[in-house]
């Protein structure tokens, strides 16, 4: 029985690598997801994941399935869309969601057009859904580097980031840190999406950010605790998802996201902070 839990990882090198990869992704993605959620930017993450696709596709067209080319392409596309949308929303009266939608639609259309120049290819599946079971050394190093950089940057930016979420007017009145903080944070989102994209593809990468974060909200109303929980939930999802895919022979990437989705659904029902069961049977009201 226990054999089933660790056997695949002890026996197969590719399973070990996949586990290391998803753990790294969970470490960076969880906290970023928590902030995305608290700033009501969950869909922003989704939109940016789409914005990365064309950049990665251009990299792929120029250099084939090359890690640096696709990473750099994805980063470029993501950062351009994030920064442009951020600046437009800050300098004009257009809100962030609208400006982001405009930019990511533009880049998505551009990307699809570019991809179609070369016609269909099996490798395109790699771009769309990732290859969590085929992570090589350099990709693992990239993922580890991204999650380390993310955790460090969040530690440094924590104070202005929280202030920017709670009371942006106040932050503007005491400091000029607001806009740079916002842009650096968007940069982190892109970085983590590009990392996640190598393992899970452009479409599912955002799942390792938002599902653990959303699940953690049902267990705690303390930001630090939420970030820790989101990391743990992400790692458990990765572990469970990989096992599921191994034993039942499901595609690995979607299994990981499905596992995270199951934890989310469980939290939604049983969570102590506004979970459905607690809402339905809150117990007798208190004296005061």
């Amino acid at each position: 029985m226990f054999e089933m839990l660790y056997g695949p990882f002890a026996e197969f090198d590719f399973m070990q690598r996949a586990l290391v990869g998803v753990i790294a992704i969970a470490l960076g993605g969880g906290p970023v997801g928590v902030f995305l959620m608290l700033r009501r930017m969950s869909l922003t993450g989704d939109a940016m994941a789409h914005a990365i696709l064309p950049g990665a596709a251009i990299g792929y067209l120029l250099a084939g399935l090359s890690l640096p080319a696709m990473t750099i392409g994805g980063l470029f596309a993501g950062v351009i869309v994030a920064v442009a949308a951020g600046l437009v929303s800050r300098l004009t009266s257009l809100k962030e969601d609208a400006s982001l939608a405009a930019f990511y639609l533009l880049s998505l259309a551009l990307g699809v057009t570019i991809v179609s120049l070369r016609g269909s290819n099996v490798d395109l599946l790699h771009v769309l859904f990732g290859t969590v079971l085929a992570l090589d050394d350099s990709t693992l190093l990239l993922l580890a580097g991204i999650s380390s950089a993310t955790v460090l940057t969040l530690a440094v930016l924590y104070r202005p980031l929280v202030l920017e979420c709670v009371d942006p007017t106040f932050l503007r009145s005491v400091s000029r840190a607001g806009t740079p903080t916002h842009l650096i944070f968007l940069g982190l989102v892109v970085l983590n999406l590009v990392g996640g994209f190598h393992a899970l593809g452009t479409l599912l990468a955002v799942g390792m950010m938002m599902l653990p974060a959303a699940a953690s909200r049902f267990w705690s109303s303390d930001i630090t605790m939420m970030m820790i929980l989101s990391v743990v939930i992400g790692m458990v999802s990765g572990f469970a998802g990989l096992l599921l895919s191994f034993h039942v022979e499901l595609p690995a990437g979607p299994s990981v996201i499905l596992a995270a989705g199951i934890i989310y659904a469980g939290s939604l029902i049983f969570g102590r902070e506004g979970g459905l069961l607690w809402l339905a049977w809150p117990g007798r009201h208190l004296e005061a």
Binding site: L38, V156, L163, V166, T169, S173, M226
Partner: protein
């Protein structure tokens, strides 16, 4: 306490949105250490004026200058502060944000600072609320917390935009005590207000505006029936064919 009181000087200031003036050709000075009420009908440009002083809105024309200690900081309480009340944050942490000017991005908050947070909470009557999430505060309690944050900012200039709107009498009285204390400490305080009784009771100086400045000076002189009537006649409608203003252009 601020070493030297700060004045706010307006040099033919026009503030607005696009090319439309919301405050038109304001000229004069808010004296150092004065306690000034800004009064006028809705749409008179009161909030716009405060935004201009804080610097979040650039004047279309003219200049606003703060004299006194170099780069004097301003503490600003906006009307209906854009605070995300659902954010998981404690009252203590919200109030402690007022320490930003000393702690900055990375500075630590020491025992002395924590004592100051406790004092500020005490001054606004929020002792015992430290650990409460901000989501659970009533409107009045939230305003008390924001005043505690202003106290911690320890600024020579304090701007309040309709601080007592939708606030009950007890809370208003308590917070007015805080305002009086600021005045006693020679801080320059400017508050946008609608309740003329409060203005007459507490604020020695008043600026009555209705897009154009109507009257400015001692409260008893400014709030004359004639001036109030003049302010009320302000044209609210906006003229789609307004010509460019050349006042003050040589």
């Amino acid at each position: 306490m601020p070493a030297a009181a700060t004045s706010i000087q307006f040099d033919e200031v026009t503030l607005g949105y696009g090319r439309r003036p919301a405050v038109h050709h304001l000229h004069g000075e808010i004296a150092p250490g004065s306690l000034t009420a800004v009064v006028g009908p809705n749409g008179a440009g009161k909030s716009t004026l405060l935004k201009g002083i804080v610097g979040t809105l650039r004047p279309l024309e003219g200049r606003i200058r703060l004299t006194g200690p170099a780069n004097a900081r301003i503490a600003y309480l906006p009307q209906a502060a854009e605070i995300d009340r659902t954010f998981p944050l404690s009252v203590y942490d919200l109030v402690a944000m007022g320490l930003w000017s000393r702690s900055g991005l990375f500075g630590s908050i020491g025992a002395k600072d924590r004592a100051r947070v406790e004092q500020a909470l005490d001054a606004v009557g929020l002792v015992g609320f430290e650990r409460r999430p901000i989501a659970t505060l009533s409107g009045g309690q939230m305003q008390r917390a924001l005043f505690a944050r202003l106290l911690l900012q320890d600024s020579p200039v304090i701007l309040l935009d309709e601080p007592f709107t939708a606030i009950d009498a007890k809370t208003t009285a308590d917070l007015l005590d805080v305002v009086r204390r600021w005045h006693d400490e020679s801080r320059t305080v400017v508050a946008v207000l609608h309740d003329l009784d409060t203005v007459k009771r507490v604020f020695p100086q008043t600026l009555l505006i209705a897009r154009e400045p109507v009257a400015w000076g001692e409260t008893s002189d400014v709030l004359s029936p004639e001036n109030l009537l003049k302010a009320r006649r302000m044209v609210e409608a906006h003229d789609p064919h307004a010509a460019p203003c050349h006042r003050g252009a040589a």
